[in-house]
Each structure stands twice: as structure tokens, then as C-alpha cells.
Symmetry: C2
Subunit: 370 residues, 2 copies
């Protein structure tokens, strides 16, 4: 499974795996794909430093990348405290009442808020990048729009390719014009932040809009047949995120959440603003339902919503309050029905890809097989 991009990056398979877990990223790269570590959960630069060093030591000498969340527009002089102060009291009350209704305990004194949204803040992302650029990353991806021009320039100086996610052809063109090297076309069915245009339509539209710039297809891909479909649509590879959540190397710190993921069907996700303030696909839970319901106060814009719910999400996760427990994940969750190693997942993808190529050749009358 070789495209121009996979050749350029010297990887065996055109499979790009995004994950918050260093062990998963390392295993993806070792298995011949391209592991991309998500940085959004790191608030302290030294934690990211430690995990990137671990990743480098365990990637088997294969290339890997980093994904940050950095807004292209800078809001001067705004701190986390300034943003906190903008959250209306009614919203805080709704969160407290929803947690109380489900008997969610408070965090203990000294508990870290594990789920943090502060990685969304440019100031935090810039500290992460200082760490990352000191290390041999080959790819820098940005999940929210194009990174600022100085970051793109700095990446290019160091030979780092820059990727950015796009939910429409218009966004993709903006990325290209901003000097981005790779566009990740993120379809409606994807986990996390998504637009409304499904991968089947979005992928070729983005390819036509920015080609010959390489495009990775994201959203709805969890089998080799889906990889083949994405490549038939003109993508130079696939960007897989959800699929790794149920690998044995992933550490969700929550057996209940893993059980929910394994049990969920493709119809058990919802595109909701409840997590970050922008529409993000995630497991549908009583938490997302509460925000959609008639008593919900409406979600706040990013980054307010994320700050508002950070403590609540941490409490729900810590105490594994099942009805409220969710995570960003795509519709492909319906196919994530067993815990497997990253290597087994990659093997399954490459085998399924070959099967799909056989099938399409039979249909096209290009093979002798029956």
C-alpha cells in the first residue's frame, strides 16, 4: 500500500494513526504505519517531553508525528483565568445539577483534572511545539485550521511536514494557501470535530480542490475495504483515530469506557457541541442528551465550553459514571468489537485492502479469478 506520500515519509503503509497514547503511536509506526501523538491532553511541557522521548525510543527507528490544537488567530493577552470569568453562572449551575442528578462525587483534594482543554490555548500549544521541534518529529498536524505562518515556516526549516484537518474544500484551499503540505479531509462520520459533509463526498472534493497536494481521508475508516475505498477516492492515505481506542496498547484508564466502546453500534454516536463548543462526534450519553435536551442552557463557544466541562468530565471519568461516560469517537465504533493489538489491527487493514483490490479487479474484469 504505497502512495507518493508514504514513499516520501518512508513508511510501509499509507496508514496514519492519530492517538493520545505514546504506546499506540509507537506501535503504529513499528507496524509500518505512521503514528501521530495527540498533544492536546498535555498541559505541562515536561510531560510531553517525557512522552515524546519514550515514543522516539520505542518507534523502532520509524518516523512519527505530533498533533496539536492551535488556533490560527491569536487572541492577545487572554489567559485561562480571563476565559473562566466569561462563563455564565447558569451554565455552571446546569453542570452541577446534571452531575448531582447522577450522584457524581467531587474530585478528591489534590486530584488532577485529567481531562483538560487547555491544550486548545495557543500559549500552551506553543510551549508544546518548543518541545516537539527539539525532537525528530517528521509531521506536525493541527486539528483546528491552519497553524500560524511562523509555525509553518519553523516546521519547514526543520524538514517537518505540516498537516491540517479540513471539513470542506474551502477550508482545504485555505490550508494550501497557508503553506500546508498535507490536508486531512475529515468527514462527517469521523470522531471529534467534524463538519457535515461525509467522507464519500468530501474526500474527492478536497482532492480536486488542492491536488496535487496530498490528501488523507479521515472519518469512517476501520477496515481494509474502507482504506481501499478512500484510496479509490483519490486520497494518498488514511488518517485513523477512533480505531486505536480499543487496542491493547491504548490506556483509557476506564474499563467501563472500553466496554461501552466495544458494545457501541455505528448509530450510538452524536455530533455535539457539549465537549468543546464546536460540533464533535462522540459517544451518545446521558451527558450529551442533557445538553441537547429542553432544559439544557445551550453550549458556549470554544474555548469556554471546554473549560466549563473539564472538571465534570474528569469526575465522570474518575468514578466511571456509566450513563454519562463518553469519549470522542467516530461512527466506525460499530466495528470496534474486540480488543486487539495495534499490529493485529494493521494486519487486518492491509489484508482487507488486498481483498478489496482483488474484488474490484474481478468486477472490472481484470483478473482470471471467478
Amino acid at each position: 500500500m504505497q502512495t507518493e506520500l508514504s514513499k516520501q515519509l518512508h513508511v510501509e503503509h499509507a496508514l496514519f494513526g492519530f492517538t493520545p497514547f505514546p504506546a499506540v503511536a509507537a506501535a503504529i509506526s513499528r507496524a509500518g504505519g505512521f503514528g501521530v501523538l495527540g498533544a492536546v491532553r498535555y498541559t505541562a511541557p515536561d510531560e510531553l517531553e517525557r512522552d515524546l522521548d519514550w515514543l522516539d525510543a520505542h518507534a523502532g527507528g520509524r518516523p512519527y508525528g505530533l498533533d496539536v490544537v492551535m488556533p490560527a488567530r491569536k487572541v492577545e493577552g487572554v489567559t485561562e483565568a480571563d476565559v473562566e470569568a466569561m462563563i455564565p453562572e447558569g451554565h455552571r449551575r446546569f453542570v452541577a445539577e446534571t452531575l448531582a442528578k447522577h450522584g457524581v462525587p467531587e474530585l478528591a483534594e489534590g486530584d488532577a483534572v485529567g481531562w483538560r482543554i487547555t491544550g486548545w490555548m495557543e500559549e500552551v500549544a506553543r510551549r508544546q511545539l518548543d518541545v516537539a521541534f527539539d525532537r525528530p518529529i517528521r509531521l506536525l498536524a493541527n486539528a483546528l485550521g491552519s497553524p500560524p505562518p511562523d509555525i509553518v515556516a519553523r516546521a519547514h526549516e526543520q524538514g517537518v511536514l505540516v498537516a491540517a484537518l479540513a471539513g470542506s474544500a474551502r477550508h482545504a484551499v485555505k490550508h494550501r494557501d497557508g503553506g500546508i503540505d498535507i490536508v486531512v479531509a475529515q468527514g462527517y462520520e469521523a470522531g471529534g470535530h467534524t463538519g457535515e459533509i461525509a467522507s464519500m463526498v468530501l474526500t474527492p472534493e478536497v482532492v480536486e480542490a488542492v491536488g496535487p497536494l496530498p490528501v488523507l481521508a479521515a472519518g469512517g475508516i476501520g477496515s481494509g475495504e474502507q482504506v481501499a475505498a478512500a484510496l479509490a477516492l483519490g486520497a494518498q492515505g488514511v488518517w485513523l483515530g477512533s480505531l486505536w481506542l480499543t487496542t491493547t496498547e491504548a490506556d483509557l484508564h476506564s474499563p467501563a469506557l472500553t466496554r461501552k466502546l466495544l458494545a457501541a453500534g455505528s448509530g450510538d454516536t452524536v455530533r455535539s457541541r457539549a465537549l468543546t463548543g464546536k460540533p464533535a462526534r462522540q459517544l451518545r450519553t446521558e451527558w450529551t442528551d442533557a445538553w441537547e435536551g429542553p432544559e439544557g442552557p445551550g453550549t458556549l463557544p470554544m474555548p469556554l465550553q471546554g473549560l466549563l466541562v473539564a472538571d465534570a468530565i474528569s469526575r465522570i471519568q474518575k468514578y466511571e459514571v456509566e450513563p454519562l461516560l463518553g469519549t470522542p469517537v467516530g461512527q466506525i465504533v460499530g466495528r470496534m468489537n474486540s480488543e486487539r493489538s495495534v499490529q493485529a489491527v494493521v494486519d487486518d487493514l492491509t489484508r482487507g485492502f488486498e481483498r478489496a483490490v482483488d474484488r474490484i479487479n474481478r468486477i472490472a474484469g481484470r483478473s482470471e479469478q471467478p
Copy 2:
């Protein structure tokens, strides 16, 4: 492009084209695809009789089919008048006010209400089937659930294959258990009635749920590359609806609507209940916005909503009131940018399919081309 199903039906390409226009259906069959005439707009059996006879005379001896909208559950003794009586006055007022706001004239005395929803009623669909079964149709499709068992049995007695649309694997299994021969997996991005699961995820899920029963992929398909993707996902063919709306053989009776379709991007559709009471993807217009807006009274369940808006839609269409003028269409509308003949569309699909097969073989290392 030959699958088991296309061989069984003796068609050259595994391209199934659904259309309300006999001239389009005939041209699809003549071009080597399989034309399927939508019956929902026919209220008088003699009109359907006339158009089916025309289709038979112009299909060049190639097979074709009919698509009806027949609920599996029968509501005994309910007439159109009974249903009309269930529509709340506030809803009628909202429709009248919305039309008045845009200065939409009344229909002239004697004007037929061109856009009718009565084809949704079982009684009407059964009259259509009496007409259809007297003619050499090869396929009967039902757009809403499985057809009633007696209809399936009658079709099979006459050697007619029965297809039914499904938006989830669960629905597909119900169809299989109801004796259906072909499942059309209708993805989120499709025009008309759709569920929430996108084609990239839905197609293989349905194939795995009902295989070896043949599955057609619907939703998001308008290029040969997308056909290749659907076939890679395990479909035995594709079901194309939107794509024919801007062919030269289509007769929308509205230059303004054709202009809107040609100009629309993939992001210009919305999944709205405003047309029929069930979520149906259509052009986003000030009409759909009004129903979604804060002053909207909420939509009514099927078939009430369709009856409520039938007259309004006819008026909007007759007078081509552009801000309100819409039609069911999928996200693929973004690719429908020129008026072309059905033959040109089919040629484009088959050429694009071959290109995609070339590409996927290069990626798989199965060809010598660079």
C-alpha cells in the same frame, strides 16, 4: 463493471439509476445501466400506465424497474380526508404566513397540485402496483421499509426482484427476513429520506449483516471513483438518484431549480423533516430554514406533513419563488455543475471507475505503471 447482480439482471454496468422521469429511466437502461422509475408523483393509475408503456418502448429492450413508496404497516380504513383533518390549524397558518412573507401567489383555479404526497398512501401504491405488475418490470423497489408480504410474494411469482432501502444494518436484516432480494444501503449523504450513518460506514455494515444478499450503495455517489469506492466496500452496484436531476433528459419544469442545483455546493443541503415528516436531505432554502427556525411550529409526522405542504410546494414550484425553491437531493449536488446527457454521465462513471481501478492497482503494487 460486472457483479453477480448485474449479470443476473443482464445489464452492462452495475449502475442503478432512480429517477422520477421516464425519459431518464429509459436513457439509463439504454446506456447499459438499470433505470428505475419513481412512482411517488403519480396519483392517477392511467398516467403511470402511460409512462410505463413509454418507458418500455424507449428502453431499447433493456431491463428497468419501478420504485414505489409503500408502508409495511397498513392503517385500516384511513383516507386522505381523514389524514387532512388531523393537521392542526396553527401549522396551516404557519405555511400561509411563510408563503405570504415571500409573496407566493395562489394556484389558479383548475391548477393541478403538481407535487403530491398521496403516492405515500398504501391505497395509491397498490393501484400503482396493479399497473406495474401487468408490465415487464424486472425490479420493484420500496423506499420506506419492506413492502407487505403479499406484494413480495406477487413480485416473486412474476420473476420480479424486490429491493428495499435501509439506513441501518438492523433495517437491512428486517428486509432480508421479509424476503427482499436486494438491499439499498442509503447513507446519510444521500438525497431524500436518510438516516445518520454515512455510506463509508453503512455500506460494509449492511453487506456484512445481510450478505450474500446483494447490496447497492446509495448516497454520495456521482463519479466513477465513488462507484469504485462503493464496490470496494462490498456493494454489488450503486444506486444513483440525485445525479440525474441535471441531465438533459430530466424535466424539472423549472429553469430556476436547475440553476440552483447546478450552483449548489456539497454543503448546501440539509436533512429536514419539512417535506414529508421524516428526515429527508434536500436543498437548503428559506423554506427549510423557516421550519428549523424559532418561529416554526415543528413538523408533523408522515403523512401529515406531506399533505400539509403539498399545495405550498406546488405554488413555490409553479411560480419559481427562488428563495423557497428546493428539491430532495444529496450532498453529491456539489459535483452536479453542468447539464449533460444521461449517456455522458454513464460514460463519465465508467471511465472514472477504470481510472480508480488503475490507481488502486498502482497503490497495491499490482501494475507496472509509474
